[in-house]
Every structure is written in C-alpha cells, then in structure tokens.
Symmetry: C2
Subunit: 335 residues, 2 copies
C-alpha cells in the first residue's frame, strides 16, 4: 500500500478556542501536528503576558504530555516597546485583526494609521516578532482581500525588516504579492486549496464550507494551488481550523469557520498526490514554516496510507469539513 511520511507537521494558523471546546479540539491537532500557531481571538482576546501564559497552560493541560507545542500569539494593539520586551519570550507572533472583520475581532485595528502603529511595528521589527495579519477590508465580500493589498504594501514598505504573514490567503492578488515584497509571507488553508464560491453557494448552500475569507473564484484557486503545490518558500500550511458547535453552523445565521484540523493532513496528501507533488508536501506543512519562524519543533513522524478514510459525522458535536464523506488517505501511525 502506498504510504507517505511527514516529519513534524505544523499548523501555522489554528483556532483552539477555550474551555470545553479547547478540550475537545486540542487533542485532535496534537495527535497529528508537532505544533501550531494558536490564534488569540478569544473573548476577551489574549492581550497581555498573563493571558498568554495562562492560555498556553490550558492548552498544555488539554493535550497529552509533551505531544504538541502551542506557538502563542498576542492580539495586536498599539503596544509599547517595554511591554513587547516583557512578553517577547512567551510569543511567536502578534496577530492583527481589522476591527469586526471576523469571529471575535471587535477589538482589532479600526484604522491603518501607519504613524500611530509605527512604534509597535518598529519594535516588533527590531525584536524579530512576526506580524500575522487577517487581510480583509470591510468592502464587498468578494473584494475584501484584494482591497487589502494596499495595506499590505504600506506595512511591507514601511517596515522592510518586519516579517509579515498574510494569513489564510484566498486570491491571486495575494499570491502575486509574495514575489513583490521580500518581507511578505503567507499561510494557506487546505480548504482554500479545494473550494471556490461555487462549492459554498453554487448548488445547495453549504454552511460547513462557509468561512472567512470566503472561497473565491476558480482563477484564485489556481493561483493558490500553484504556490502551495510548488511549496513556494514563502508559503506555509495554516489550517485556520475554526470549530463551532453544530447549532451555530446549521441555523438561520451560520457562523463562519471550517473545522479541518483532524482531516487536514489526509486532505493535503490527497491534493498533493492528485497533482503529483507529494514530494513538496513536507516543505509546505513544515520545513518552510520552520525557516520562516525560526522554530525547531520536537520530533514527530506521521505516516499516512493511501486507503479509504471516512470522516466522522462530528467530533463531540463539532462537524468537520466533509463529514461522512470518504477521503483517499488515512493516518496510519504517529511516532
């Protein structure tokens, strides 16, 4: 049977939530990933050193001993340098949300005034703290990411030594930015390597395929596939796996977010094999991220086999992408 081994898979954009949901989903990521960049958009957001340390402890308590490294992030505000120096050892990045743009982002940045942001961003640049960005404006849903490119330009050109990660990119416009600025990087989800808006609302409306940024046009999908499959050195896998209770997905107003953590590696094998690029998957799911973030995850070896895997209908009430459907790769062993 055909198999494929991945070393130290990393999920560079993950929502672990808190409380019961954290206890439910964290072990699923810890099983197949060595570590993950953990998003700080809790309610209230993670925005001081004590919050970071306490949240990390709750995550560690939710997963088997030493099986998983949570790379912690802080919710972006205009912090001063002294504060950043005090917290730098506890975090791997700071995550910037435009205010109100997605789940629990109300306290984010409401205007991109570079001079107001300069002290924080210059300090981050000097200290080597990457800036992760949810890059969407509040414009028309299909244009939000493309419209944000001018803000990426502003950030990248004003802080040329600051590592800026364009999170969960969904458009050709964002892909094109990678080669325009040395300091722009990107994460790409597995669902954005599969879906277009057609899958979400082209036939039936599919709440479990609804996320932000929403899946875009076929030409955008092609652009994302081109850099992911080539394992472009500036792109990394980040699932943006975003669990919600089932009743928040299947109702009159469905919350945004696709839950992929437990099926991400299987799906990635399927996609990379389909395009005959399995050899590039290691760089996409780990090596590029290690280089970009300068991290050295603990050893973990995940072996997948080319055999049918039926996705569970739910994980304790959280419905994953492709619930009940059969994928062509399964996780065989984790060492």
């Amino acid at each position: 049977m055909k198999s494929h081994t991945l070393l130290m898979p990393l999920d560079m954009h993950l929502h672990l939530r808190d409380g019961v949901m954290l206890e439910n989903v964290a072990p699923l990521s810890a099983y197949s990933f060595s570590g993950a960049i953990v998003m700080p958009n809790l309610v209230p957001p993670v925005e001081n050193k004590e919050d970071v340390i306490a949240y990390k402890e709750r995550i560690m308590a939710a997963v088997p001993n030493d099986s998983f490294e949570p790379y912690m992030t802080l919710f972006y505000k205009n912090y001063d340098k002294a504060f950043l120096e005090s917290v730098a050892d506890e975090i791997n990045a700071i995550k910037l949300y435009p205010a109100g743009i997605t789940t629990n982002s109300e306290g984010g940045v409401s205007s991109f005034d570079i001079e107001e942001m300069r002290p924080t961003l210059q300090a981050m640049s000097d200290m080597g703290i990457p800036l992760c960005v949810h890059g969407e404006t509040d414009g028309f849903v299909m244009d939000r990411e493309a419209e944000f490119m001018s803000i990426y330009e502003l950030l990248a050109s004003n802080f040329p030594k600051l590592k800026i990660i364009m999170e969960h990119i969904t458009t050709k416009e964002a892909v094109d930015m990678l080669d325009r600025f040395d300091n722009l990087y990107a994460t790409i989800t597995v669902h954005h390597l599969i879906l277009t808006l057609d899958d979400v609302v082209g036939g039936m409306m599919k709440p479990h395929l609804f996320c932000k940024p929403i899946a875009k046009r076929p030409e955008d999908l092609d652009a994302l596939l081109s850099v992911a499959l080539a394992a472009h050195p500036k792109v990394m896998f980040g699932s943006d796996s975003a669990p919600h209770p089932q009743h928040k997905k299947e109702s009159c107003g469905c919350a945004a977010g696709i839950f992929t953590a437990p099926i991400a590696l299987q799906l990635l094998c399927e996609i990379f094999e389909q395009f005959d690029k399995l050899d590039n998957l290691q760089a996409f799911v780990s090596d590029n991220a290690q280089s970009i973030y300068g991290i050295c995850p603990e050893f973990k070896e995940v072996t997948l086999e080319h055999r049918p895997f039926t996705v569970p209908s739910d994980y304790n009430g959280v419905v994953p992408m492709y619930a009940g459907e059969t994928l062509s790769w399964a996780i065989e062993s984790v060492d």
Copy 2:
C-alpha cells in the same frame, strides 16, 4: 397616516408548488395580487395540456373564489406547432430552463442549438406566446447570468418577433440588454432590489436569503434599482417567491429560494418610497406587465399604509424573508 394604493398588482414570476404547499402559499399570493405567472417546474414538470388544466384547477381550488388569476405556463421542450396550437389558449407563456440549473429543472434544455429549437420558437413567435427564460449557464456562480447574455442575443436576434422575458435578472449585464433588443423584457424580484452577496455570505451565512440566481455585486444592485425605480417599460415585478419547508432551508445543504409572496408589496413600497419613486410602483407591479403580456386582470385595489408590520416567523412552516423583522409598510385593505 401615509397610504399608497396599488391597482391589480401582478406577480409575473411565482412558484406555487403543489399539494399541501400549494394550499399553504396560494392564498397568500391571492390575497394581495390579482394574478401571477405560475412557474411549471413541478415534479414532473407541467408539459402537456392536461397538466396545465389540472394544475390550474388545483390552484383555483386552493384560493378563495375568483380572487386570483393564475397565468399558466408550460415547461419548455421542443414542441411541435400542432401541439402548441392545441394548448395555446390555456397558457400565457412557456418557461425555458437550462437543464439542471435550479430547483426541478432536470428536464430542461441541455444545449442551445437554435436550429433544433427553431420550429418551436418560430411557432411561439407566430402565435404570440412569450418565452420566459431562466438565464444562467453552469459556469462560476457569480458569472452564470452574465455568461448567458450571448444566448439571449442568439434567441433575440433569431426570433425578433418573439417576446423573450429574462426572468429574475440580477446583473448590470442583463439590464444593459433591455435597450439592445426590442424583444427582450425582464422580471425583477423584490429581494434582488435589496440584496447583494454581502447579505447572503458577507457576515453570517443566511439561508433564507439564498436563491438562484444568487444576489450579485453592489453595481448590479444599482443597475437593477435604476430600471425598477424608473419603471422602465420593459421590466415587471416577478417575485420568484419560492417556498421550501423550513428544514430544507436550515440544514447542512440549504435549498435555493426566498419566500417573499406575503411581504412583497410591503417591501416594494418601502424601497420605492426610500428613493422617492412611489409614483412609479404601479407601473412596475402591474401596468408594464399588462402591456407586455396583453392581459387584463380583474379589478383589485390594495391599499398599504406607512406603519410598522412585523413579518411572521413562518407561514405554516415556511419561513419568509425578514422573518420576525419589522417592515415600515403594511397592507391596510384589499378590495
């Protein structure tokens, strides 16, 4: 209190379904409309004289005596002239669906071969039977209607005397066609005078705002408003009101269709008043349709008042648009 009276309102694109659903929704349309063009996409579709007569009888049985005129349609196939002559007195139009493009359209047209269609379309043209068209390709969801414009061109230029109704138009491209071909007309829904894709998936995902064709971009909304508010003589109101049981809207795969029949006139007053065009509403909801179809509906006078109207949460299990929300116009009396 400000009031506005409409004479013989007509809904030129309506789904009444059949059986229990027909009995539920038909009286709601019959209350506020003089008549409606009734879509033939039942299962199986309405495609012969006996079907038309029997369906009309079921509709008449479902509404109070003589309160409502169902203008019947036939599901388009390549019919011969003798058949069309036999059925012409029973119908007001023939509705063409591309195969598989929307609810119950599997038996529609799978290729637009003008020569194959010519005998039917020429006979319709000669006999003065309008052709109603669901104008979407099977392309990317945001492009489907715009891509169909070349087919409208083909139909309009090959059969210059055939009245062709572009049903439930949603794009600037379709609006622009109205002035390019003398024989192209259009219906516009009330929801497409309000919604863009932002309302459907820009914030939460809203199953009760999900329909086909899907709501498009802001510039498309502007184009639709411009011709509707001006009561462009080639456009008519057609609700495309499409009832589904609640469980088919609020689930893992939500069916397309917005149920607006019982709130359409109230919403139209709200929109036309907002743009100070109430004087044009009569033409949009009745006069234009009477001219285009050559029909003379029975007298009905509907008076609306500018006062709060809270939309019911459901009509016997069918959830309307804006369920539970309050509109600013209410129906005061029907004579």
